[in-house]
Amino acid sequence: MSLIEIRQAAFRHSGSPVLTNVDFRIDSGEIVTVVGPNGSGKSTLLRGIIGALSPSQGSVVRAEGLRIGYVPQKLHIDPTLPMTVRRFLSLPEKVADDVAEQALERAGAGKLIDRQMAGLSGGQFQRVLLARALLSDPQLLILDEATQGLDQPGSAAFYRQIEDLRRSMGCAVLMVSHELHVVMAASDRVICLNGHICCEGAPEHVASAPEYRALFGSGTQGALALYRHEHNHTHGDGCGHEHDRQTEAAP
């Protein structure tokens, strides 16, 4: 049974259509990555999945009693709000000390429990967010550009942690990222998004799909050179239409 199943859904953001024709599902234990240029609707899709946004068409079905752990893109904590890591973990549900400590340990943030949130480094902060997401023993862990602002070793270490967690806890992972090469290597399935689902499948398949190349092929040489060398063949079974190159530059 799928954890989340989206059928023929469309999503709007302040009145204008952002995503159309979305069919999506994620099963237990899967790692799925969503990639796409800025403004392609990645965050909108996640918001639709966590329930912050209702589809204007179609349906979003969550499994009965689905436990979601959500790691937001960035969390700005106002400096006027005092907040220790321990207190943060008890929001909104109070958790016992040993549960909090265990979650921090799992997320690789064991020693931070008494620190102020505002005083943490970027990497420490993301690990605390991850620990909080693990508290509910989630069946589905959702990460929205969770490594934004981390350097490469930092984000690589973070993703290793995610893979370990998937192995030990058996939860499905859904993530959005720009760091294509790091993320895609760890994924079971990749979804390439640009206002709709352009193509999806195994990482190697998507990386070499013409639709994906049309979106990311030029202008992002650094990140994608890797794939261009490894997979220099093309598949002919894409969705068969051209993408407006301008979307790449869209904010």
Binding site: I50, A52, P72, P92
Partner: protein, 265 residues
């Protein structure tokens, strides 16, 4: 008959009642950067005073109604072409102006406008006291009930959604609490100084607090000390009471920050 017959006792209880409700709400006002929002709601409430007097209704009811309308309208209109601060500026000051004009139309009564602008804590009646403590209890109850949800929504709206909390609903809870505090505080510190009772105790508590709860408790203590101390000072030095309360809170704010600068870092 009872100790409530002493006007000073009534004043002290009124000040304490307002301070205890304003402090925790003030923390949210500070955390969510709603300071101007609180100010605007308070200013607009003078229109409520005018309407209540004109229609011969209780002032508390009139103020509550206008404060609520103001807060809900601003929440609803914001983001449609104007920034929040612009909308607040337009609505708060026009409501204040309309209120002042409307007051001049109230026939036959020469109402003491100063009493509503700056408060008249020494004239608090037993009935006022009942209204103040009733309103404060409702505000505290509301905040107690929604506490964790409010904190989560304050941290991040999407975090709240993922936990099954609707941040818009929590915003409405705060708006309601704000209108209630404005309505009960008008008698004590007046329209112009309500925002001070919200913000200054919370800001004073910030440097020494490590969790939201401690900040709230400390803010309550600062507010209570300011109310009682301000009343004491105003009585012995013959100063206007509302401003004296706010002055004392401001002095505590300076001391708190000086203390932090000397101890910490």
């Amino acid at each position: 008959m009872s100790f409530l017959d002493d006007f000073l006792v009534r004043a002290a209880l009124a000040g304490l009642g307002v301070a205890l409700a304003a402090a925790p709400l003030g923390c949210f006002v500070v955390w969510r950067r709603m300071a101007y929002f609180g100010d605007a709601t308070a200013h607009a409430s003078i229109l409520g005073v005018a309407l209540a007097l004109a229609l011969d209704l209780p002032v508390f009811g009139g103020v509550l109604l206008v404060a609520l309308l103001m807060a809900v309208t601003v929440s609803a209109v914001t983001g449609r072409g104007y920034g929040m601060d612009t909308m607040l500026g337009v609505m708060a000051h026009s409501a204040l102006a309309f209120g002042l004009v409307a007051v001049s139309f109230v026939p036959g009564v020469r109402i003491d406008l100063m009493a509503y602008l700056f408060g008249d804590i020494l004239a608090v009646s037993k009935y006022d006291l009942m209204v103040i403590w009733g309103g404060s209890a409702m505000v505290l109850g509301l905040l107690w009930w929604r506490w964790n949800a409010l904190l989560t929504a304050t941290l991040n709206p999407d975090l709240a959604y993922a936990a099954g909390i609707d941040p818009r609903r929590e915003q409405l809870v705060l708006t309601l609490a704000l209108a209630l505090v404005v309505a009960v505080a008008i008698k004590v510190v007046g329209v112009l100084l309500i925002a001070a009772m919200l913000i200054i105790p919370a800001a004073t508590a910030r440097p020494f607090a490590s969790t939201p709860e401690r900040m709230t408790l400390a803010a309550g203590a600062v507010g209570g000390v300011s109310a009682l101390g301000g009343l004491q000072i105003s009585f012995s030095a013959d100063l206007p009471t509302g401003p004296a309360i706010v002055c004392l809170a401001a002095v505590l704010f300076v001391l708190s920050n000086l203390g932090k600068a000397l101890i910490g870092r």
